[in-house]
């Protein structure tokens, strides 16, 4: 099944959620989704007989690098926080087709429902996305840092575009 067909199925089945198909070349087509009804839709993707996405190949966070500083007429600056997003790469072993979904969240409140109850493999993937981007996966069983040290500075997420390398970690100098 192509992403276009999957897109149609999702649109028909979940009229309350918004889906946009992005099929601009040269990348493979993917579905942009607002992330609403996440548990229901992911369960549907896994269990629906025509889809059967039994495998979450990859889940990754991305910083869109779209933080903007806006100046109004009086010269006051306000920061628009921009977005982080989560990509889901799904594959069906039984039907041998795949699809990519993208969900964006605001950087100042990066909360998104966990898909760990649907695909167990999401456990460590979501922990990595949390570790690197600070995405908060709600209802995740154990949302802790996975790669960085457990005592790494709170709120410091290395793959965010505005990340700056700290001078020291536990008394060890970090910059060259």
């Amino acid at each position: 099944m192509t992403p276009e067909e999957i897109f149609k199925i999702l649109q028909d089945k979940f009229p309350n959620s918004s889906f946009i198909l992005d099929n601009e070349l040269p990348t493979e087509a993917y579905i942009v989704w607002d992330g609403s009804e996440l548990p229901e839709i992911s369960k549907f993707l896994r269990d629906e007989n025509t889809l059967l996405f039994d495998s979450l190949m990859n889940l990754s966070g991305v910083d869109d690098d779209n933080t903007k500083t806006v100046k109004d007429e009086e010269g006051n600056e306000t920061v628009e926080p921009g977005t982080l997003c989560v990509y889901y790469h799904l594959h069906s072993m039984k039907l041998d087709h795949k699809v990519t979904l993208k969900v964006s969240v605001k950087k100042d409140d990066p909360k998104i429902e966990s898909v760990e109850p649907i695909w167990r493999t999401a456990d460590w993937h979501e922990r990595e996305a949390y570790d690197m981007f600070g995405l908060i996966f709600l209802n995740h069983p154990n949302l802790e840092r996975i790669l960085m040290p457990y005592d790494w500075e709170e709120g410091s997420y290395p793959l965010r575009k505005d990340f700056e390398t700290p001078e020291f970690y536990n008394g060890m100098k970090i910059p060259y």
């Binding site: 790669l147 970690y169 060890m172 100098k173 060259y176």
Partner: protein, 162 residues
């Protein structure tokens, strides 16, 4: 080199300086902490295997830091691992030696600029005796590093330095 070129007495007595004897014993049985970090560890394991045969210099991997004389830092030292390495080093009994193997543990290697997670040289945490350059160094290079360390040990003395 060792004792063989020293004088033998008639009653099988070997005459040597205590320094020479101690140094010879130490440099000929450098037990290594079985500890690998990254791709350098693959080369280190190849050095231990039969073709390059680390054992002919008396280097045997030991599973515990308390039985080890030498630790080869073989690979990228992340900040998370650096705290662990420091602890392992502190658990080793004196005299203890360190070979820093490869660019990563020498100076951060390819992570020198953007490696937010990498310690830029193990010598920021523990004192290094021999640096082996390479990315990763071939087994021959590691063997030369070991010979350099043996050279260093050979010139050590038990005497207190005034």
């Amino acid at each position: 080199m060792g004792l063989l070129d020293k004088e033998f007495g008639e009653s099988n007595v070997v005459i040597a300086k205590v320094d020479d004897l101690m140094n010879w014993a130490r440099l000929s049985s450098l037990w290594q902490l079985g500890f690998g970090l990254a791709c350098c560890a693959i080369e280190m394991m190849a050095t231990s295997a039969s073709h390059y045969d680390f054992d002919r210099f008396g280097v045997i991997p030991r599973p515990s830091p308390r039985q080890a004389d030498i630790i080869i830092i073989s690979g990228t030292v992340t900040l998370k691992m650096a705290t662990r390495i420091k602890r392992l080093y502190e658990q080793m009994p004196d005299p203890k030696y360190i070979i820093s193997m490869g660019s990563c543990s020498n100076c951060g290697g390819p992570y020198w600029e953007h490696g937010y997670h990498v310690l830029k040289g193990i010598d920021r945490v523990i004192p290094v005796d021999v640096y082996v350059p390479g990315c990763p160094p071939r087994p021959e290079a590691l063997l030369e590093g070991l010979l350099k360390l043996q050279e260093k040990i050979r010139n050590e003395s038990l005497r207190k330095i005034a």
